[in-house]
């Protein structure tokens, strides 16, 4: 668990560093790493449980403890899918912006909507 905390923190640091680069592709990388970091953050904060997936046995009337918390998992599942959609759009946008403006330097795109 300490390891997970360090991993989340490390991924956040990498993501932020990437987001602060002028290169637009690095921005996309930063976004991807950030989405992993956030998902793991929610996952870890919800509590880590080994060998107990939240799936009720086929004969059971309900799910008996112990089980991994299903709610953060449902949230993260949604987040993964949406992140993918946003990622695809971001990639397309960066590519289009680079072709339109002839640069991938976010500083050079300042204050103009050419």
């Amino acid at each position: 668990m300490y390891m997970m905390a360090l991993l989340v923190g490390g991924l956040f640091a990498m993501a932020v560093y990437c987001l602060l680069r002028r290169n637009l592709l690095k921005l996309v990388f930063g976004f991807l790493i950030l989405s992993h970091a956030v998902n793991l953050l929610i996952f870890t904060a919800g509590g880590l449980t080994r060998n107990a997936p939240p799936i009720a046995p086929s004969e059971a009337k309900f799910l008996a403890a112990p089980y991994a918390d299903p709610l953060p998992q449902a949230l993260i599942l949604t987040a993964i899918v949406i992140n993918f959609g946003v990622f695809a759009f971001l990639l397309a946008l960066v590519d289009k912006a680079r072709r339109k403006t002839g640069t991938d330097d976010s500083d050079a795109m300042k204050g103009s909507d050419a």
Partner: protein
Amino acid sequence: MIFAGVILSGFFLAFLVAPLFKVLGKAAPWVISLFPFSQLLFFLMLWTNRPHATGELVACTQWVPGAGVDLCFLIDGLSMVFMVLISGIGGCVFLYSKDYLHDDPHLDRFYSYLLVFMSAMLGLVAADNVISLYVFWELTSISSFLLIGFHPDTPEARRAALQALLVTNLGGLAMLAGLVILAEAGDSYYFSELIQRGDVIRAHPHYSAALLLLLTGAFTKSAQMPFHMWLPNAMVAPTPVSAYLHSAAMVKGGIYLVARISPIFGGTALWFGALTIVGGITFVIAAVLGLAQRDVKRMLAYSTISVLGMLMAVLGIGNEKAVQGAMVYLFAHALYKSTLFMTGGAIDHAAGTRDLTRLGGLGRMLPLVAGAGILAAFSKSGVPPTVGLIGKELIYEAGLHAHSAQKVIVAGALFGNMFLAAVAWAAGIRPFVGRLQSPEAPHALKPMMWFAPLVLGVLGVALGWAPEIVEKTFLHAAANTVSGHPVPMDLALWHGFNTAVLLSILTLAGGGLLFWVRHRWRRFAEARPWVGPDILYDRLLSVLKGIARLSTRLLQSGYLRQYMILVWAVSAGMVSWMLFDAAPLSWPAFAPVLPHLHEWVIGSVMMAAAVFAIATTQRLVSILALGVIGFGVTLFFVLYSAPDLAITQFLVETFSVILFVLVLYRLPELKDRSPVATRVRDALVALAVGAVMTLLVLGSPSVQYYPKISEYFAQVAVSAAHGHNIVNVILVDFRVMDTLGEITVLAVAAIGVYSLWRREDA
């Protein structure tokens, strides 16, 4: 319901004005002018036929039931006085505008604004709910902005309109805060109930704050010093607007508010002090400044400020005579001030100037306008037999009845009234008598330009002869409302010789003297540069703009990175504040789950991959490194009992890598353009964020704000939704609408990607 309809129908009619002008052409103003008069008739009939002779009427319609906001109207003596003035003078102003602005191409628009203004004012004085009072209050500010800036082609008009809006809106916000405090203290949002709870509110710890906030609103609206500058500047408005704004609408809003809260807040030392000091100073200074003006409208504007100050001070005194005096003088002032503005506008039309030093002897050409002006000037200066005199004597008596030291008010009132009398004659009489002086040959005026002021001017004198008509109908009831208990009232021109009569004679004599030396005083004042609040307003505005520029330059640099740094620094700062202040860390909570060796290995590989993805300049390598991170996350989902997440993450990761590879050949180079110093700074920000997030994860197990709701899902998933995979059941059953939203996001993103990549022409 009917009452609400009558008040609010003005707003609807405002939208019908333009079509009416299209259909009826020149006859449209006649039809529209009928509206305020019919409202006046309705109010009077409603009032005289009320069930209890002493009581008030409350008419309610639900508006926002959830928020406790109803459209409730309270019709008592006080609101009747105002409603009669607003609709009656409103009707005269409507008629006058027809001829004053007869060649204006936007006359229809003018009537629309005027209708909104009048209806907002009616709503303001009849509102029972404090929130709806605020809404109507701001509506009058907005509509007066439109009216003052009706001819927006001059910078003065634009500045004056904005100034009026800013000053009265800031005051309005203060008033809103005061109203909320009042309502919370009195545990009701209705004036009709709050009036009963004056004792509770006067003893409340927030009494002073509420009162001062409410008075700030009233003082800005009623142009009390130092907020008065917007009113003389508002003289750029067309004259009918000035006539209305100064007499029955807008500036009287502040007086109304003070009168309305008088039974709730009145009688304390703070009430007396704040109102008499601010009102008294405004009264005297504005009267003195008014006599130094050469523009008839500016002169009248200062005299309005002065009278408003007097009314404020008198309401501050708050004894029986004071309340009566305030109500009577309020009524008298509305009549004569609207008349004087209308005659001023008529002079401007006929002679081509408003400069009083260049006007004289116009009475021979404009006998009826002159008649109206002279009658109004009589009422204003307190010459018998006018309603103005009755009001003025009551105010003197109020001062004489005040407690010992407060009698100094009488001296102030005498001094100010002398100046006001001189102003009345200079503005209302002097242009019409004496040698003929006029820059243009005076021409005859259209009928409504003399008819409207003459009606109001004659009323001022007729009601001086027979004040019991208005006293019986509503002024007495109004005085009772403002006092909070029934007071005796007996209006008459002559009560026998007493001190008040002596003071009235002194006022006229002093006024005559001042009238005689007024040009000397004007030249003296004009020769001196005054530093008034108007200049301060400009400075304050430029300071405000400077701050806006500075903050824009600081925050809106246009560099994405700087916004990012700001956002991250603020979020990390707030999270760490929460961690250390609100939810202290508890380390032992982690003990149960110790990492295995292979987990350390996976974590280390992911970290290494992340560093690699950042450091490398080779696109393919960095994309593979990102893939490693994604599959590492997938492994953790497997290890910690989240098979659904693992499957999804695996699929998405595969798609992401495919997507990257598909566009790989078009991807830009991966140069880092930043100098080393910038990289170090970014690294420090990144590390700080990372450290805070690590601490957040470590702190999270010890915080449980709400009981876990997962147990519910675990219990009922099988029985209620017939699913064994709880995560799936949550997504497709319990929270299915959220999943629908998720799918929508995907669809929108897909459309976006398609449209961006569709055409290559770019």
